[in-house]
């Protein structure tokens, strides 16, 4: 039995909310996605099966609409609107990402939704919320990530190169994760005896609180982080953690060792590879193996701890430059060190795990 068996979701087809509907559907909800009579515009999105454009061959549509049933309905006309309302009246959740005021203009305002339907959970996902000074602005995945903060963190040491948007639609994904979380939270509240409700999710606000240190470093210390190649943006430059391996592929060398056991394992691996003599800092690895856990707050102020911590990074970088990426990944992980090979999506898919 799936967790959401028996829960019905009516989703108004929109590229902004599709992932949230997919998550609820994949968890067992009966998700009915409502498309316009001519089909959702997402059906025109590439890539297509074998490159042949067709509304039934859009892999973007396929990806974001698993576990849903579909109907086509013109709810901008009164008869369609009434049919949609009848459908919503029998649903637990209405999920939609229409621009502000679009639903109300068609007679689908709070009065006929959550007020008249006390068990309904209405999740509205919009770029900037339903009202306010920016609520009329146009947005796409790119502009959400750029205006909302994530893109500022991502890019290269060379600031002649632009900030980078991570591929894969994450501006929309972040909003959808909050939308799905909101729907589930409201459903639990209803199961515990509460009523339904209206929930507004702002995609811009969602991106703003999905930047990790970039936001709280400003909130707490008025510090501005700056982007760096393949590692956390930070106020001052940090040591590189991305390394090109002997086979030309890249790895992330992770957080350097912090415990005596990790230093011991790293030193042993370095010796097995015959590389100890090439690392002037190897002496500090021995010190790390003999000391208590590294106190991270003393890096930069305590010379010995700084040297030991830096030696861990230097040893991993040296090893990575001498072996293939996969060998580095498996070797380091088997030594108990959290590192990762940088897979392309298809390589991640093919990996044995």
């Amino acid at each position: 039995m799936s967790a959401l068996q028996g829960i019905r979701v009516v989703e108004l087809a929109h590229e902004r909310s599709a992932l949230a509907g997919k998550l609820l559907g994949d968890m067992g909800a009966d998700v009915v996605v409502v498309e316009p009579v001519g089909g959702s515009p997402t059906r025109t999105h590439e890539p297509f099966v074998n490159g042949v454009p067709d509304p039934e061959r859009s892999l973007t549509w396929w990806h974001y609409n698993t576990s849903k049933r579909g109907i086509a309905l013109d709810w901008t006309r009164p008869a369609g609107r009434d049919a949609l309302l009848a459908l919503i009246a029998r649903a637990d959740v209405l999920l939609e990402a229409e621009d502000p005021r679009v639903l109300a203009a068609r007679g689908l305002d709070d009065a006929v939704l959550t007020h008249a339907l006390p068990r309904l959970v209405h999740v509205s996902l919009t770029p900037f919320g339903p009202s306010g000074p920016r609520s009329g602005e146009r947005a796409t995945d790119l502009t959400i990530l750029a205006g909302g903060g994530p893109a500022w963190n991502c890019g290269y040491d060379d600031h002649e190169l632009p900030p980078i948007r991570g591929g894969g639609g994450h501006g929309y994904a972040i909003g959808c994760h909050y939308a799905a979380l909101s729907a589930l939270t409201a459903l639990v509240h209803r199961e515990l005896g509460g009523r339904g409700q209206r929930i507004d999710v702002s995609m811009h606000a969602a991106a703003n609180v999905t930047t990790e240190m970039a936001s709280y470093n400003w909130l707490i210390a008025k510090g501005t982080v700056k982007r760096q190649t393949g590692r956390h943006a930070s106020e001052g430059p940090s040591m590189p953690s991305q390394q090109r391996c002997a086979d030309g592929r890249y790895v992330n060398t992770g957080v350097p060792p912090r415990t005596p056991k990790e230093y011991e394992n790293l030193l042993r691996w370095l010796r097995e590879l015959g590389l100890e003599s090439e690392l002037p800092e190897a002496i500090f690895l021995e010190m790390g193996a003999q000391k208590a856990d590294i106190d991270l707050s003393k890096i930069g102020s305590d010379d010995e701890i700084t040297a030991i911590f830096g030696a861990g990074r230097a040893a991993l970088t040296l090893i990575a430059s001498r072996v293939g990426a996969q060998e580095f990944f498996l070797g380091a992980q088997r030594a108990g060190l959290p590192v990762g090979v940088i897979y392309s999506p298809e390589e991640a898919f093919e990996d044995e795990h």
Binding site: P47, G132, L142, T143, G166, L181, A205, M213, P338
Partner: protein, 419 residues
Amino acid sequence: MSEQTEDPVAQALAGIRICDFTGQLAGAGATKWLAAFGAEVIRIEDPTNQGGWDILRRVPPFVDDRRGPDFGGGFNNHNVGKRGITLNLRTERGKELLAGIVERSDVVTENFAAGVLERWGFGYERLKELRPDIIYVSNCGFGHTGPYVNFKTWGPIVQALCGLTFTSGLPDHEPAGWGFSYMDHTGGFYMAMAVLLALLHRKRTGEGQWVDMACCEAGLTLNGPALLDYTVNGRPVRRPGQPNGNRSEWPRMAPHGIYRASGDDEWVSIACRDDADWLGCVSVIDEDWARKQGWATLDGRIADQDALDEQLEAWCRSRDKFELQRTFQAAGVPAAAVQKPEERIERDPATAEFDLWPTVHHAKMGDVRVDGLPVRFSETPHTITRGAPCIGEHTEEVLTSVLGLSAGEVAALREEGVV
């Protein structure tokens, strides 16, 4: 439940108690959401190392010159609204106390490396003995089965292994990656969803369960249609000209990118969705180069995208990023300045509109602003007012209210090094 009266507004998750071992952001982010909606989250930490497993307790940023386990700014940010107790699980008495808390909890959450809780004697079978309908949610890199079960991960490692680091970059450059632990945030989202889904299931069936979450697998699902393009069409992302995160391959858009504006490291994003948007761009730019015949159609702009981007960037770089945002938006074209933290936190009316940076009171740091939640619930709004717990801040309160110990008994436990 001891603090029902704290907030008179209905709380969505009131009455749900969570025995919480999570840390960093990947776990703590999950229980932050649940606490904000009224769940009683009790963090269990190790007194012998002052909660040292969660490294964020001790690392910058700091509010002032004070250092130590109660002054990590990130820890405060991710643990607002929770209570914190210490239990030494190397002692039998510590294990007994934990067993008592589990018996009285709905959910146990943790994001240790696989198998840690089991080694402490609190694997799922034991948890179930203590409370048959317990919900146990674990979150680690690869879950508790499979060839990499003993491998360790952090956010950036998960991102590397699931494809997300690779797809954030420019062609002919090394990966740029994410610049923050995106998969710690996202792992937390999925972990919180797992808790809520299991609560719904338990409410209807009376059954608890173990949700064994693998953060790398969660990340793998977030590559968009790229995996289908590979499995259906046989086309890999690792190919010449890819990846290019700032362009839009699916759906096709052009121009679509992040362009240099005037000033030091100032940028603006512009996404031209269709030919109508391009007409809007042309009206804003109002120069002959933009009226080039071939660029009137999407196919023409895609075919000549390098030249188009070069022209557009040359035009943008003498103009202010917010002015560009305003003028393109006025023409109906999606555009947004790449905002720096100060700009989006202090001067953006859309984050103020959502009260996105609430102030909490922390017992030692005082009043501190934190990340809020980007949602508004009409009936059960969330509450973020109390800072993260100091080490053992609520040990006495929880052991007396939840387990019924006396203050004297708690003092004795402290003497014995149990708490």
